[in-house]
Symmetry: C2
Subunit: 172 residues, 2 copies
DNA sequence: CCGAAATTCATTCTTTTTCATAGAACCCGA
DNA sequence: TCGGGTTCTATGAAAAAGAATGAATTTCGG
C-alpha cells in the first residue's frame, strides 16, 4: 500500500472529490457552474457576508469571489452593498431571485447526500460528521472573517527552500 | 445554522482544505507546486501507472496530468514509457531522482499529519479514517484505471436544464 | 478478417483561478 | 489630528484547469 493510501489529507480529498462528483454532474446538466452553486448555497437563508468572509467559506481566493459575485450580481442573483461603518467592506446578500434559483438545487443536494449515505448506519454518519467538525474546529482558528494567512501553520521544522526545485515562483 | 453547515460534501471539502492548507504552505516555501507533489507522492514507492490511472488517483483531469507529467519528465523526476501490449497507453514511473526529491516531502507530510491530529484520540482518528475509506469504497466503483463517467450518478430525479441558467456550456 | 465503435493519450483553445499589486479606508499611537 | 502600518476589495497580467477535438490503437460484432 502506497504512502498516500493512509494519508489523511488524501483520504479527505478523495472522499470529498467522490462525494461531490455526482452532484456536480447534476449541476453540469443544469448548466450551473460549481463556483456559483457554492456561493449561492453559502448565502442562502443567511445574513449578508463580506467578500472576505464569503471567500473563506467557499474555500476560494478573494479575487475569485469578487469576480464570481460581480457576475452573479449582473444576473440579479446577489446584491452588493457597502458596509455601513466600514467602507472598505462590501456585503454580499442573496436576492429573492437568487433564493428561488438555489432552492431546487439545495433540494437536489439533499437528495444526493441521502443517496450517497444510503445504507450507511445513521450512527456512523453522525460520527463521521462529528469527527469532521472536530477537525475543522481545531484547524479553523479565527477563520471566518478573513484570515491573514498562517505560513508555517505550527510546523517548527526546516522550511529552507529546496534548490532542486529552483523556486520558479516569479519572484518580482 | 445555514444549509451548508450540515452538508456532508461541504464538511468534507472544508476539512480537506484546512488539513491541506498547512502543508501546502510548506510546499510553497520549498517552491514545490501542489500538483507535482501529488503526482510524485502518488507514484512514490509503487508500480508504474498509466496516465489515466494517475489522473484518477490525483483527482485531476487527464490533460492536466499529461502536461504535469511532461514537465516532470523534463526535470528527470519521472519517466514515460509506452506500455507493452497496448500501445495507446503510457506508463509513468518515478525515477531514482524523483524518489530522492519526494522523500523529504513525504517525511514532512507525515510530520504535518501528526501535528494536525495531535491531541486527538487515536481511536477517533482510526474511526475517521475508516469511515472515509468506507465512503470512498462505496463511491469508487470500478474507478482506478480510468473511469468512463457516470452522468446521473444514480439520481432518478429531474435533470431538465433550468432555463434561468441559460446553459452556457458550449454543447457543440 | 473487416470495419465500426470505443479507448487512450496528446493538443488546442477557451474559461477560470491565482498571483501580485494598487487604491481606498480604517486603526492607533504620538 | 497626523502619519505609518494594516485591512479590505478590485484589477490586470499570468498560469492553470477544463472542454473539445484529434490521432493512434484496440476491441468486438458480423
Amino acid at each position: 500500500m502506497g504512502f498516500v493510501d493512509d494519508y489523511l489529507a488524501y483520504l479527505l480529498a478523495r472522499a470529498s472529490h467522490l462525494v461531490s462528483r455526482g452532484f456536480h454532474a447534476q449541476l453540469a446538466a443544469r448548466g450551473v457552474p460549481v463556483g456559483e452553486w457554492r456561493v449561492l448555497a453559502t448565502l442562502a437563508g443567511g445574513r449578508p457576508l463580506t467578500v472576505g468572509e464569503l471567500a473563506a467559506r467557499v474555500l476560494m481566493k478573494q479575487p475569485t469571489v469578487t469576480k464570481l459575485v460581480i457576475r452573479l450580481e449582473a444576473r440579479g442573483l446577489v446584491r452588493r452593498t457597502p458596509v455601513t461603518g466600514d467602507r472598505r467592506k462590501v456585503h454580499v446578500r442573496i436576492t429573492g431571485a437568487g433564493e428561488r434559483e438555489v432552492a431546487p438545487l439545495i433540494a437536489a443536494a439533499r437528495r444526493h447526500e441521502a443517496e450517497v449515505l444510503e445504507g450507511l448506519d445513521a450512527t456512523e454518519v453522525a460520527a463521521l460528521k462529528r469527527a469532521l467538525r472536530h477537525v475543522i474546529h481545531r484547524l479553523a482558528d479565527g477563520e471566518g472573517q478573513g484570515v491573514p494567512q498562517r505560513p508555517g501553520s505550527g510546523s517548527s521544522s526546516s522550511l529552507s527552500p529546496n534548490r532542486h526545485w529552483k523556486a520558479r515562483r516569479h519572484q518580482a
